[in-house]
Symmetry: C2
Subunit: 225 residues, 2 copies
Amino acid sequence: MQDHQSQPLNDFIEYPHEEMLNRANEFLQTSQRRHSIRSFSDRPVPKNIIEACIKAAGTAPSGANHQPWHFVAINSSDVKKQIREAAEKLERSFYEGRAGEEWLDALKPLGTDANKPYLEHAPWLIAVFSQKKGGVNTDDKNTNYYVHESVGLATGFLIQALHRSGLATLTHTPKPMSFLTDICKRDKDNERPYMLLIAGYPSDDATVPAHALDKKSIDEIATFI
Amino acid sequence: MQDHQSQPLNDFIEYPHEEMLNRANEFLQTSQRRHSIRSFSDRPVPKNIIEACIKAAGTAPSGANHQPWHFVAINSSDVKKQIREAAEKLERSFYEGRAGEEWLDALKPLGTDANKPYLEHAPWLIAVFSQKKGGVNTDDKNTNYYVHESVGLATGFLIQALHRSGLATLTHTPKPMSFLTDICKRDKDNERPYMLLIAGYPSDDATVPAHALDKKSIDEIATFI
Ligand SMILES: N[C@@H](Cc1ccc(O)c(I)c1)C(=O)O
Ligand SMILES: N[C@@H](Cc1ccc(O)c(I)c1)C(=O)O
């Protein structure tokens, strides 16, 4: 009846309700141990771990299954240095006024400033790019759909993958991010930087802003009807 | 030196490299068993499982930690019926022409059409909303930052939480989605529907489009430098 081929869903695993709840709580508790940190150790992390995490990100659902994403995983000291320099330059103008008063006030509890040494020290930076055109096949040049949403879901999967593997992360969004396109030598007509993730081990003196530990309660973030 | 309070990061768990890789591969393999399905059983799923998954979504990083999201978890048959009716009406006009030829071609391999019985049959619909204004405290009326990105990450966390708990999901994006604001009685000035998730057990005859099983390889989605 329909113009498509399908297969039975044969790899779904069903658990009893009690085990479902235990599994949900395990995921919740593990997620509650995830904190963005801003002080990374320079201890190396093997590439194959990062690779498996990016593969997991690539399993995210996407508009028409076009998978409109590209991940540039940066281990090169030279490239990391270029990114640090470009990012700090932008952040200086941001903190010196471009942000505006309300934004700077909102950031105060985080204790951030224009210095981003972790962009050079952390073993891995992962620049996430979204693609306007593409398709199920990499060489397709069709329209992609729900690009921003799809890449957001994949990046959420990636953060979970890295965290559960034992890596600390920071999500970084310098503004504007177009320098990442240049430094990573990506096609500026089709791709747009979405986010920069920093991944590695925390340094011994890594801290978490008290404010970031303060999460809204379930009643504040959810309504059941 | 800085105008903020911080705490040592004391809940980070470090694993040996070998275990990190095993953990990354476990996450990858589990993620590879996730498939969007479009035929749900009406078997009930306890609320406490959905609640734990939404709590896990709420641990996602967000701009200035404002957590600019609200999840409406719908179990009410009456509300599900309203959503199905509104969605199918939109989908009919979409499939009858509004989509355009290229989009309909892209959807052919998925075998989708305007009928969305699962919106009524699945035990849970979760409407995800993003918030323009807010803050660390729910009553704040400050500017939120990177709203779309933050909500994307949280929704990615939510899909992982549901999947790992043993639930099948579908991400649904009817266009426009504003009917969700009305039916869920949310504040249309401050909140925007981001996505609708369907969660439950697959029906016995649930299938996966062959095309959706076809994911790009790591070399296609990633560059290591
Ligand atoms: N919203 C419609 C069409 C649709 C479906 C799947 C998909 O990946 C995309 I992009 C669009 C529907 O739900 O049928
Ligand atoms: N990009 C700047 C400022 C910043 C920082 C954190 C944050 O949540 C937000 I929104 C903005 C920086 O990285 O310092």
